[in-house]
Each structure stands twice: as structure tokens, then as C-alpha cells.
């Protein structure tokens, strides 16, 4: 049976250097955005989702675990950061730290439950868990229910970077994104990442080789959830609110779509996918509910004919790992 990450090309020394070249190109392109007429707010938003999708892809692309509830980490970190900054007057860096820790704690608890099953069961369990979290946030007072937490002060990060200035905010978001991206890249190419890939390919064999696969999967889940939380925490300063949208299961579906469009199990795929989907939502907003239909169509087309995704197809064509 073909696995869901059939396109993933094994990383060799050469492909790692390809990836670093691609990374530098990406970093330079993103760094010059404020000099171009491109709307920086749009790029910031896309960067948050790109980080979210990369974190998600760490789990599916390298661990073979399809989480359908990743919105719970994005949303939890968002609420935690927003609450800490607005109600407790945390500085932005501590707000982000608090949000990330909240997401990490949640991923430990949910991971312990979810990794007990695999495949579609894992997907359904994560989905159900995130719906549980959604209902809890709908009822608890600190989230302000349907209204969400609004008007979050952006503050001054590390006492130097004034986040209320769009340019400063943009570069802070960009730097966080690039660092997290490098961290994910490093993880994938570490001995831990290699074991993870072997679990994806053949879990029974990994077990027989003496690896405690559950521990590896749990660690991957926690790492992925924590980084998804980082995306949610940073997003609070971009959007200046935290709302139920980020916890709803449609958000979990969206991150799957982003990763699928870009290429499951490719390093750059989720970034490209996130930009494509966010751009689509931005420019097709006037179509109202048809956006949902279009997203559904993209899902169907990707699954039926375009399973490698944009980056996956390119990587496959050039026989490189991207």
C-alpha cells in the first residue's frame, strides 16, 4: 500500500544543501517584502499559518500521523497569550512563552491519549479532542465565548522592538518564523528525525529494532503541538485578537489543506501551501461561502490527481528533496 508520504525523497548530503539554498532564497524573498508593494499584513498572516502548517507537517510528513485537531494548539496558545498580555500585562515575549507553554502542556495531555491509536483512528481522536477543547472554550469565561479576546496591546518586545510599528512587527514575525523553520529542519535531519521516518515507513520493524516507537511519536506530537502553539501565540500580535475560529475543526482542516497543496512530507511544501490558501481566502473573500466549495474542490483534486502537492511535484521532477 502506498503511504501518504510516498513523495518524500530521502535526504542525502546533497539534498540538505539544496534545502539550505532554498532556505536562503526564501529568507531573502521574505525579507524584502516591506520594500515591495505587497501588503505586509497579508504576508505576516501567511507566515503564521506557514509556521502552523510546518509544525503540522512535522507530524504527518515525518511521523506519518495525520492529526485532524491541530487547531486546538493554535487556538490554545492564542487564548493563553492574549489573556496573559491583556489581563495580566505580560510583555510580548513572556506572553508568547506562556502561550507556547500552554500549547506544550496541552500536547502532552492530548498526545498521551491520541498516540494509542494509528491511522484514521488517530485522525478521528485528535479531531474529537479538539472539538472537546472547542466546547470548553465556548463555555469558559476567560475566552469571552463568541466575542473572543479583542484589542490586544502589542507592546514592546524585549524592551526594544515596538510591535505596534508594522515594519518592526513584520521582522519580528519573520525572524520567529525562520528560526522555527530551521528548528524543524534540524529536527527532521537529526537522529530523532531518522527514527521518526523509520516509524513512518514501517513501525513494526522499528519496534523490532528496539525503538520505543510510542515515545518517539509522543515526542513528535509534543514538538508539533508546541510549534503550532508558537504560530498561534505570534498570530495574536498580528491579528490583535484571539477567537473561536482558531480552535474550530475547520481550522484543523485548513492546515491539512495547506500542507496537502504544498506537499505532504516536503520541507517547503507547507510554506507554499499556506501562502496559496491564505492568498486564496484573501482574494476570493467576496465570493462568500463559495470559498468553502473551492477549498473542498482543491482537496478533492489534490487527493485524486495531485497527491504530491506543488513542492512535492517539483522535488519529484528534479529528483531533489525540498
Amino acid at each position: 500500500m502506498t503511504t501518504i508520504t510516498e513523495n518524500a525523497v530521502p535526504a542525502t548530503g546533497r539534498s540538505t544543501s539544496d534545502e539550505m539554498i532554498a532556505f536562503v532564497i526564501m529568507a531573502v524573498l521574505l525579507a524584502v517584502v516591506p520594500l515591495t508593494p505587497i501588503y505586509p499584513y497579508f504576508v505576516m498572516q501567511a507566515l503564521c499559518f506557514a509556521l502552523f502548517a510546518c509544525a503540522f507537517n512535522l507530524l504527518i510528513g515525518y511521523g506519518g500521523l495525520l492529526s485532524f485537531g491541530h487547531a486546538m494548539f493554535l487556538g490554545t496558545a492564542g487564548y493563553a497569550t492574549a489573556h496573559a498580555v491583556k489581563e495580566w500585562g505580560f510583555r510580548p515575549e513572556f506572553g508568547i512563552l506562556f502561550g507556547v507553554l500552554a500549547a506544550a502542556a496541552m500536547s502532552v495531555v492530548t498526545g498521551l491519549v491520541a498516540i494509542r491509536r494509528q491511522g484514521i483512528y488517530f485522525a478521528m481522536i485528535t479531531l474529537a479532542l479538539s472539538q472537546l477543547i472547542y466546547f470548553i472554550y465556548l463555555q469558559t469565561p476567560f475566552t469571552h465565548g463568541e466575542d473572543g479576546i479583542q484589542g490586544i496591546p502589542q507592546g514592546v518586545m524585549l524592551g526594544v522592538f515596538d510591535l505596534s510599528k508594522p515594519i518592526t512587527l513584520y521582522y519580528v514575525v519573520l525572524v520567529i518564523f525562520l528560526l522555527a523553520f530551521l528548528l524543524i529542519h534540524r529536527t527532521i535531519n537529526s537522529p530523532f528525525g531518522e527514527v521518526l521516518k523509520s516509524i513512518r515507513e514501517n513501525e513494526q520493524r522499528a519496534i523490532s529494532l528496539g525503538y520505543k516507537t510510542d515515545q518517539y511519536k509522543l515526542l513528535a506530537f509534543i514538538l508539533s503541538g508546541t510549534l503550532a502553539g508558537l504560530a498561534g501565540a505570534v498570530k495574536v500580535f498580528v491579528a490583535q485578537n484571539a477567537s473561536l475560529t482558531d480552535v474550530h475543526w475547520t481550522m484543523s482542516g485548513e492546515v491539512v489543506l495547506m500542507t496537502l497543496v504544498g506537499g505532504l512530507g516536503t520541507v517547503f511544501g507547507p510554506v507554499v501551501g499556506a501562502f496559496v490558501i491564505i492568498a486564496m481566502q484573501q482574494y476570493l473573500a467576496s465570493f462568500g461561502q463559495w470559498v468553502t466549495v473551492i477549498q473542498g474542490l482543491i482537496f478533492v483534486i489534490c487527493v485524486l490527481t495531485f497527491r504530491r502537492g506543488v513542492i512535492g511535484e517539483i522535488a519529484h521532477f528534479f529528483k531533489r528533496s525540498l
Partner: protein, 312 residues
């Protein structure tokens, strides 16, 4: 002071209540139990359909909620535009929506054979978005009313509670359908072929049985069950484009709890969880939305394969 039809659902007894009103809170309990049984019927019908489809196609049909919604809309269209009543809708809607399901299977799902099961989940998720999006475009998000058929209007006083006839009908009718499906799959020759083909399609094919056609029909059957649940729910819940969207996630939790190991398992788990949810709504309404998910967590901690599930 007597509230007609019992206390409003979800409101527990208040400390200031007088003795005369006590029966009312008991009535509220029975009412919640009934609501739980009704929801349980929908959970059972939907998880049964999912189990049947999963058995043959190895696909978790994410579009199940959307197809359930189509069943309800189908009944609405038949009545509004064709003047076709509820009783015919009960037969026609599952056939029509089941036919649509067969079309989906023939044009899309069959191409996923041999691929990772997760692709089936993703494809049907996309289908659900498309179907729901189209209905939302044309009907907005608010509900359309569907009248209870004349024959099932009114209610009977059972002494301890007032039972609206339609609600009683839903519970009994779904039970009958569930048991009939169980009988079809577990006790008939056709069911035996089906189970054999699930185990070893190549071998069954060698006996001259058209397995691909069986797969298609099975998908149609599963979808038909979802549509039937939709028709049953139309007079109780309003007909809304998103009526299946949130329900399906609860049904997934039901499936995880039950384990989808057996047909009977799906049925019993479905009804049982509906009742537990109803009881929670009476005793601790704040948790009524979450109780199924909390149960799922507890079951997974104790028995990861689910209550009736076999190790995968």
C-alpha cells in the same frame, strides 16, 4: 404553575421549587432521556453506516454528515416542490442520496483503492466541504421547517411522562432499521459474501462474485442509512446545511468508543452514548456537549481499541 410539555430541556430543578412541581423535574429527566434516545438513534444509524462503509472500502466517510444533511434536504424538497409526503420521503430520500453516493464512489472513491486510508478521509472531507458549501450558498445557515406527518402528530400520556408520538416513532423505527441491517450483514448469504469480501477480496472474486459492484452498493447502503437518519431528523431538528457538520464529529467519537469492530457494537454504543448524553444534560448541563468526548478519552486510556474493537 405548570409548564406545558414539561420543563424546558436542560434546566435543572431549582431550590425554590415547591412539592407540587416535583413531578415536573422528573418529567424533565424523562424528556432528556427521550432526547438522548433520539440522538442515540441518529448516532447508531450514522455510525452503523460508517462501519458498513469502513468494512468494505476502508474509508472513514467524512462526508457522512453532509449526506445526512442531504437526506433531510431531500425530504424537504420532495415535500415542498413535489408534494411528496414524509412516508414516501422515507423511502425515496435514502434511494436518491444513496444513488448520489454510488455516483461519488464510481467517479472518485474507487480511484483510492490501494492508497493510504488517510486519503479516503481527506477526499471525503473535501466532498463534505463542497456539499455543505453549496447548500449554504443557496439556503444560508438558518433552518427550514419540516412538519411532522399528520399520522404521527400529537402525543400520548404514559402516566409518568408525555410522549410526543413522532419521537417515539423515531426511536422505534431506527431500532428496527439498525436490527434489519445487522440481520442483513450477519445472518444472510449476501452479508456473508460481504464479510468474506472484506476479509479477502481476491479470493471472493475468484468465486465469481463481482466485488467492485458489491463495494459500490455497500457505499450506497451506508449513505442511504445516513440519508434515512436525515429524513427522520427533519421534523425534529430544522433542516440546516450544517446540521451534519458538528454531529459527525460526535459520531466519530462514538465510533472510537465503540471501536467499529462489530455492527452490533456500533448500534449499542450509539444508543448508549445518546442516553448518557441525555442524562448529562439533566444532571450537569454544562458538560452535555463534552461528555461523549470525555468518555472517549476515558475509554482510550483503558482500552485503546474501543469497547468492541479488535486490535488493528
Amino acid at each position: 404553575m405548570k409548564v406545558p410539555g414539561g420543563s424546558p430541556p436542560g434546566i435543572p430543578s431549582l431550590p425554590c421549587q415547591t412539592e407540587r412541581e416535583r413531578p415536573n423535574t422528573m418529567q424533565a429527566l424523562y424528556a432528556q432521556l427521550l432526547v438522548g434516545l433520539i440522538n442515540g438513534s441518529f448516532y447508531a444509524l450514522l455510525s452503523l453506516g460508517l462501519a458498513v462503509i469502513f468494512g468494505m472500502l476502508n474509508i472513514i466517510n467524512f462526508a457522512h454528515g453532509a449526506l445526512y444533511m442531504m437526506g433531510a434536504f431531500c425530504a424537504y424538497f420532495l415535500l415542498t416542490y413535489g408534494g411528496i409526503n414524509y412516508w414516501w420521503a422515507l423511502i425515496l430520500a435514502p434511494v436518491i442520496v444513496g444513488g448520489f453516493g454510488i455516483l461519488l464512489e464510481r467517479t472518485m472513491l474507487q480511484w483510492l483503492t490501494g492508497l493510504d486510508h488517510l486519503y479516503g478521509l481527506l477526499l471525503t472531507f473535501g466532498l463534505a466541504l463542497i456539499i455543505q458549501g453549496v447548500f449554504q450558498n443557496y439556503f444560508g445557515s438558518s433552518g427550514l421547517p419540516y412538519a411532522i406527518p399528520d399520522l404521527l402528530k400529537g402525543g400520548v400520556n404514559l402516566g409518568f411522562m408525555y410522549l410526543p408520538i413522532y419521537r417515539g416513532w423515531v426511536v422505534i423505527f431506527s431500532l428496527v432499521v439498525c436490527i434489519a441491517t445487522w440481520y442483513l450483514i450477519e445472518k444472510t448469504r449476501l452479508g456473508a459474501y460481504l464479510r468474506a469480501a472484506t476479509e479477502n477480496p481476491t479470493l471472493v472474486r475468484a468465486f465469481g462474485i463481482n466485488v467492485p459492484r458489491m463495494i459500490t452498493l455497500t457505499y450506497g447502503l451506508g449513505v442511504g442509512l445516513a440519508a434515512l437518519a436525515g429524513v427522520l431528523s427533519a421534523p425534529i431538528n430544522q433542516v440546516r446545511p450544517l446540521m451534519g457538520a458538528d454531529l459527525i464529529i460526535v459520531v466519530f467519537a462514538v465510533v472510537v468508543i465503540g471501536g467499529m469492530g462489530s455492527i452490533m457494537g456500533s448500534i449499542i454504543t450509539g444508543f448508549a452514548l445518546g442516553v448518557i448524553e441525555g442524562l448529562t444534560k439533566y444532571f450537569y448541563p454544562e458538560a452535555s456537549n463534552t461528555v461523549v468526548f470525555v468518555l472517549m478519552v476515558l475509554v482510550l486510556l483503558v482500552k485503546p481499541t474501543g469497547l468492541t474493537g479488535r486490535a488493528s
